[in-house]
């Protein structure tokens, strides 16, 4: 059986309309291919059997947690500890964003949803929610940037596009590259709710997670972005806001403005493994893990 390769003459003659699909790989296999029909049949059967096995992999003692990309790394750490202490339990953590967490919980695709917004949207009202942590949002710039503190008004002006040059915010004379998150992101909605009256400038670069915002800021000396406090590392520097640093004491005193709660959500009152996982996060040990990794405990 010969697999024919792409020939321009065929292409030109009787094709009315072609949706482009990568077809070049066929030419790699062109030489010495001999396929026996029975073999093809076997391969197909084995493939289908494999699919069947994969499909029935889900068992009872497993839950799925999905949502906020900011809380995801903490949830993963907590899940590992929880699974180590609870034999046979399996907790899968997925990201996707706060809105995904809400949707997945509503639809039942996830047992527990994670959302980190100052105010939950109205479709989440039917869900049972519990605050498991609080998270500071930090304005981050490149370590080479000389600006160390901004006021809330300056941040608003930067994101509104009124301040376009760092010299207007006390820095050197270079243009500001504004980095924001996509519409619907929990971090962005919390940021815009707290800062108030933000109409994001059209010049703003949009990145789709806390991690990519951090990488972009680490690579670009002109840029400013906002990320979850738990994700700050030494490749970027965190700005003071109104001269106040994002540290636990200041947040507890209510002096640092950019703070949001982290919600876990379930469709019904949590039970079974979901309940024990949430209880574990709220336990002393779970809260200690949250604190040790840069977030604030719930209480």
């Amino acid at each position: 059986m010969q697999l024919t390769i792409f020939r321009p003459s065929q292409y030109a003659s009787n094709t009315e309309f072609i949706i482009p699909l990568p077809c070049i790989h066929i030419s790699l296999m062109e030489q010495n291919m001999k396929l026996n029909p029975n073999k093809i049949f076997f391969v197909i059967m084995i493939f289908l059997a494999g699919l069947g096995l994969v499909a029935c992999g889900k068992s009872g003692n497993a839950i799925t947690v999905a949502g906020s990309t900011a809380f995801q790394p903490f949830a993963e750490k907590l899940a590992d500890q929880f699974m180590a202490g609870t034999p046979g339990a399996s907790v899968t953590i997925q990201g996707g964003g706060s809105a995904v967490g809400i949707q997945a919980t509503l639809s039942g695709a996830a047992d527990i949803g994670m959302a980190d917004m100052v105010t939950l949207p109205k479709e989440a009202l039917t869900l049972k929610t519990v605050i498991v942590a609080r998270d500071g949002i930090v304005m981050v710039v490149n370590p080479k940037n000389t600006v160390k503190t901004l006021t809330v008004d300056q941040i608003r002006d930067i994101y509104n596009g009124k301040i376009r040059n760092w010299k207007d915010a006390g820095g050197k004379d270079h243009a500001v590259t504004v980095i924001s998150r996509e519409e619907g992101s929990g971090t962005r909605s919390s940021f815009e709710t707290i800062i108030k009256n933000v109409t994001l400038t059209k010049e703003a670069i949009i990145q789709d997670s806390n991690g990519t915002v951090r990488e972009t800021v680490a690579n670009d000396i002109n840029s400013i972005g906002y990320i979850s406090h738990g994700l700050v590392n030494d490749k970027i520097s965190a700005l003071l806001i109104n001269g106040v640093a994002c540290v636990n004491e200041e947040i507890n005193k209510g002096r640092y403005p950019l703070v949001r709660p982290v919600f876990l959500m379930t469709r019904e009152a949590p039970q079974g493994l979901s309940k024990s996982f949430i209880d574990y996060i709220l336990s002393e040990q779970g809260q200690k893990t949250i604190l040790a990794n840069g977030l604030l405990p719930a209480k």
Partner: protein, 284 residues
């Protein structure tokens, strides 16, 4: 052991082949069903020719993204086509057969590198270079064009090689007999004869460039505005869908499907135009 007859095999293969077409049809129908009602609700003019995109405030204008998609695709072709074509001519006309047998599969491997890897290289290497030497945010049309140009290179190259190789040797012998030099033979006899295949390769590359999402999201910056230079950041249609897909509910979700409809129409129009062009060329 004979499990199944010759005719049975043929039926199975026919079924599988048609299921692919059925899938395509179902996808198109689904996108249209989800997207068209939205377009008619807010009006095609508002949707297509406004650049105000702010779904949570009920503003859905994708003009800037259409422009962005076209810029990035055009840039990819400007970089990918000359490289691919020159490479194909060199590999098929100037290199001995054994060398091509090594080099062509190697280049085809480029097509197998996952797009996220291209994106990563773009963010880590290309964007900082552009920012440093040319200015702007670095994440730009230029960066995306270069990355996409490299990504579509193997498609264009490989199909161009196949079509140049398919030109009968009698054409070359005829040209040589008339006293043409090697290069004259290539650009006056071989290339015109292989033209339709080369253009087919370019169309496939174009399809990949306009539909590529992952690498593009990473390097293009995703600012939803009309670009004024190649150093500006833009948001192509595919990036718009992928970025906001996770959050979109209700009318926002419909708007993303409508974006998909526009993307589909653009690809269909480009394909159709290119196919017409091929037909006309073959007639001459």
């Amino acid at each position: 052991m004979r499990l199944i007859s010759e005719a049975g095999i043929r039926r199975i293969l026919t079924g599988i082949a048609f299921s692919a077409i059925a899938m395509l049809l179902l996808i198109v129908l689904f996108i249209l069903k989800e997207g068209l009602p939205f377009i008619f609700k807010i009006g095609p003019g508002n949707f297509l020719f406004s650049s105000d995109w702010s779904p949570l405030n009920g503003k859905f204008g994708i003009f800037a993204m259409i422009v962005g998609s076209l810029w990035v695709t055009a840039g990819a072709l400007i970089i990918g086509v000359p490289l691919g074509l020159a490479g194909a001519i060199f590999l098929s006309e100037f290199l001995p057969r054994w060398a091509m047998r090594i080099i062509k599969p190697t280049i085809e491997l480029l097509a197998g590198i996952p797009s996220v890897v291209y994106g990563f290289i773009g963010v880590m290497v290309l964007a900082p270079i552009i920012r440093e030497y040319l200015g702007g945010p670095g994440l730009s049309i230029l960066a995306a064009s270069i990355i996409l140009g490299v990504m579509i290179l193997p498609t264009i190259l490989s199909i161009s090689i196949d079509s140049i190789k398919a030109v009968p040797n009698s054409y070359r012998e005829g040209a040589f007999a008339l006293g043409a030099t090697h290069w004259q033979t290539i650009h006056m006899a071989v290339l015109p004869a292989a033209k339709s295949g080369i253009i087919a390769g370019i169309i496939l590359g174009l399809g990949r460039a306009i539909g590529e999402t992952m690498a593009v999201i990473m390097v293009v910056g995703n600012a939803a505005k009309i670009p004024t230079s190649v150093l500006d950041s833009v948001r192509p249609l595919t990036a718009n869908i992928a970025l906001e897909m996770g959050y979109a509910t209700g009318i926002h979700r419909q708007a993303l499907f409508a974006t998909g409809v526009v993307l589909l129409v653009i690809i269909m129009v480009l394909n159709y135009a290119a196919n017409l062009a091929i037909k006309n060329m073959v007639k001459k």
